[in-house]
Symmetry: C2
Subunit: 220 residues, 2 copies
DNA sequence: AGTGAATGAATGAACGCTCACTCAGTCGAG
DNA sequence: CTCGACTGAGTGAGCGTTCATTCATTCACT
């Protein structure tokens, strides 16, 4: 591995001198940072945060141990950054899809749920970090729940309240509780998907959850 | 906090030397094991599993570091034991309450949910270990999901299927998915309760979850 | 164009601390 | 005295972090 990264580096330096002149900033500063984040996601997902060594991450990213500290001030900051980046991305995607402006609250919730499971379903390692590693300490949980997580719950809740106002949803329900239920159900779908040996598509589960959420399970 | 537990220990050792001579078998064999398990639950809940030192657990339990290893072969085994004991206890309580023999599947699910949240609601530290610490690594998750956890999911699922057979629940639903949804919702109630600053009763949430689970949120 | 000084990204060996676990010894009961 | 539960200082491996060093690249100045 130090062999590996050395080789890689050697190749780049030997074979791409022209490429260099073509792209003068041949190693965009974000590129190595990116590589480290991806590597960390993989390593954390496979070994768990506490069992992962910074050296493992560096090796996976093809850089030296010390390089990690040029981009992140600690191992913990790497974990935080993984979370932050993903939340940013998700929000950006939600904006692009204009979910916010849907008029039917039921459809809006359905789209939110879909996006939730699509994102996690698209990157198993990232999903493991989100569903398992990020929950591994109350400290993280509290920090994160203060941040993007609580905001997400709030989005669900607000959407539900809009629906209540519009007479689409039962008005006798506590929106706070309702939003937790929906989130919990989706969250469990994701966790189960990770742990399952069977490879199935995660996003379609959103529809099943929404069906029951909206209509319940009673036959009556 | 280390100050706190230190103080506690100081008091015990200074004030209870007579108590010792009064009770000749002052430490029934199971008693110390018990003390260590309780201490570990507290320590894990406060600092997280990986940040907890065996020395912390020993101090909290009022025993020497080495004593811990007379009862458990590793730190990891302590965590396992906390889980195992709690699951055993829960199963025992379910037996005692004769939940298994209830005839209405809806009522049965309600009782299961109640028991679930009652147990976690009764011991915040234990709840933290269950909701947060035990999820902190895929390794644990996989081991545990193989064990009692999967069995619990199965109990919910079987109960639901009974209800489908009896025509009480919609027959067009996948029981496996349904059971995950219910579990996920309850699980989220527990996690939120832990993280919340507000002190409310957890068990009543079971009814709210069941209401929505059974009837859905649609106004129609 | 050619030079070499300055820059700073990258390196990885080494450091220093933490902590799970051990074991030689103490203590008290029978 | 014996036995075994218990003790806690000690140990050594593991690992996050640092930093002296390397070297490709840039640039000021001829």
């Amino acid at each position: 591995m130090s062999v590996h990264s050395f080789t890689e580096r050697g190749l780049i330096e030997k074979n791409l001198p022209t490429a260099r002149s073509i792209n003068p900033a041949r190693l965009p500063p974000g590129d190595k940072r990116e590589a480290i984040l991806r590597a960390a996601t993989t390593v954390f997902a496979h070994n768990g945060y506490f069992n992962s060594k910074v050296a493992d991450i560096a090796r996976e990213a093809g850089v030296a141990d010390g390089t990690v500290y040029l981009y992140f001030k600690s191992k913990e900051e790497i974990l935080h950054s993984i979370f932050d980046r993903s939340v940013e991305d998700a929000i950006a995607e939600a904006r692009k899809k204009k979910i916010e402006s849907l008029s039917d609250p039921r459809e809006k919730l359905r789209q939110i749920a879909h996006l939730h499971l699509e994102r996690l379903g698209a990157d198993r390692d990232l999903a493991v970090v989100f569903q398992v590693e990020l929950r591994g300490s109350t400290k993280f949980m509290e920090e994160f729940s203060a941040a993007g997580f609580a905001e997400y719950l709030m989005l669900i809740r607000t959407t539900f309240e809009e629906g209540q106002q519009a007479g689409v949803f039962r008005s006798d329900l506590n929106a706070k509780v309702v939003s937790k239920i929906l989130f919990g159900a989706l969250d469990e779908m994701a966790t189960n998907w990770i742990l399952s040996k069977r490879r199935y598509k995660l996003p379609p589960m959103a529809d099943q959850v929404l069906d029951i959420f909206l209509n319940g399970v009673n036959a009556s």
